[in-house]
Assembly symmetry: C2
Homo-oligomer: 250 residues x 2
DNA sequence: GCTTGACCTTGCCGCAGCGTCAACGTTTCT
DNA sequence: AGAAACGTTGACGCTGCGGCAAGGTCAAGC
């Protein structure tokens, strides 16, 4: 048998057969005088076994090990491990499809497409008008939703609750406006402390504890610092001051 | 923000961020005087969106298209297509796990590990003794099981039925022995025609039709020729003769 | 004898999505 | 001043082959 016949017999390409030779999976057969490889039925049997194992999802390395260890319990171990891996993949795909479905449902509703339904609702409550600070809110909320660890997500989302709860939208509008007014102020402006106090006052206790817990993690406090870094100084001062107040409460 | 901060914020490596720049997914930000990239919050938001889409399973190319087409129905189309793809993958993994389970169950039973339970049973019925031809049977059955198209599998497996059915094992033993006797005979030996007739006589009609159908396909008849090629001439003659008899019956 | 076409040979590039050096400059802390 | 921890570009490595290049070989038909 020449390589083309072997390949057709088993249902692979000649390129695949040569690849298996190169990887040491299938031993190189004898050559004819002209250099052609000359296969026997045994080679086809081995090749077919290799194919069956690859179709099950084993890597070529694993198959080489299995074939080398000559039919022992090695195969069982590899197969069990593979099954566990496949189970993991199944669960992963299910998760992804669930998120996809949620995302598709959200795109049917509104333009805030690439976010979770919960966040889209929150953003819908944010005043869309000319507030500069509301735009900042949106960016940070989007980041938290997409990137923060789930453990910290609740704490940080809490920071924005006073601006976004349904019966607080108008109050949130006012708070954002007061932030906007501080764009050109200095950090020692008296309105800074006043606004920080008002923001802190609107946070319910359980959210404060979640937030304070998050801030214990150095990664998270760095998160807060980096995101607020491009705000004007007075606005940064508001946030720092508010966080201090919350830490005292927690 | 420098690249390390950005990466930590979103939860990726700096290598990943640079890779996205290189692929045109994330625009290159302004540089500081020393050449360092200087990021803003907007970049983190975009990066986080890219991550969410990759985690859903979109390719970087697709994500680039989606981001470019700026939130249109493009996204919906891609997501729907992706969901279909994931559904396909799920089905595929389920199939593989089913086969894995069958294979694991088989390895619990006997040493003929990498074959289906049905085939393992058949092989168990084959005489294991010194018959050279029985060894050939094993090889070809293994090949058929693993490699032949399912459509042709039944036809070819049929060829071996007379040797392997439970109440025919002893007869099979005899037939194999008669094949062995022909190892050094010439194709015109009278025992060739006799053995071919006996083999053909033991095939039930429905198997004959399946086999003859398979032989209409040029691929399949080539299959038969290649596998028998390394047999001694008289044994090849038996098979050719038997196939002729079967064609007349079908 | 010559061409044509279907085989075969080796060898190297390409793919996706980064990880992982290498070889070097910058900033920051001590 | 030196070390640690950043940053820069660039190039190779991984999987499982597909595809191409640049030939050599062989059977059939003119």
């Amino acid at each position: 048998m020449r390589i083309g016949e072997l390949a057709a017999l088993v249902g692979v390409s000649t390129r695949t057969v040569r690849h298996y030779h190169h990887q040491g999976l299938l031993p190189e057969p004898a050559r004819r005088l002209n250099g052609y490889r000359e296969y026997e039925l045994r080679d086809a049997v081995v090749l077919a076994r290799i194919r069956r194992l690859t179709e099950l999802g084993l890597s070529l390395d694993e198959i080489r090990d299995v074939l080398a260890d000559d039919e022992g319990r090695e195969l069982r171990d590899v197969l069990l491990e593979l099954d566990a891996d496949l189970a993991r993949q199944q669960a992963e795909i299910t998760t992804r499809r669930d998120r996809l479905a949620a995302l598709l449902a959200a795109t049917d509703l509104g333009p805030d497409s690439a976010m979770s339904p919960a966040l889209a609702e929150v953003l819908g409550g944010l005043p869309a008008g000319g507030s500069r600070f509301a735009a900042f809110d949106r960016q940070v909320l989007g980041l938290i939703e997409a990137a923060a660890e789930p453990a910290h997500r609740d704490g940080f989302t809490a920071l924005f609750r006073p601006l976004t709860e349904p019966d607080a939208v108008r109050r949130g509008h006012a708070l954002n406006a007061r932030m906007d007014e501080l764009a050109d102020a200095t950090p020692d402006d008296p309105r800074v402390a006043a606004l920080a106090a008002d923001l802190a006052a609107h946070l319910p206790d359980e959210m404060v504890t979640a937030l304070v817990d998050s801030l214990d993690d150095p990664d998270s406090s760095h998160w807060l610092e980096v995101t607020s870094r491009e705000l004007p100084p007075a606005q940064q001062a508001v946030i720092r001051s508010m966080v201090e107040l919350l830490k005292e409460r927690g």
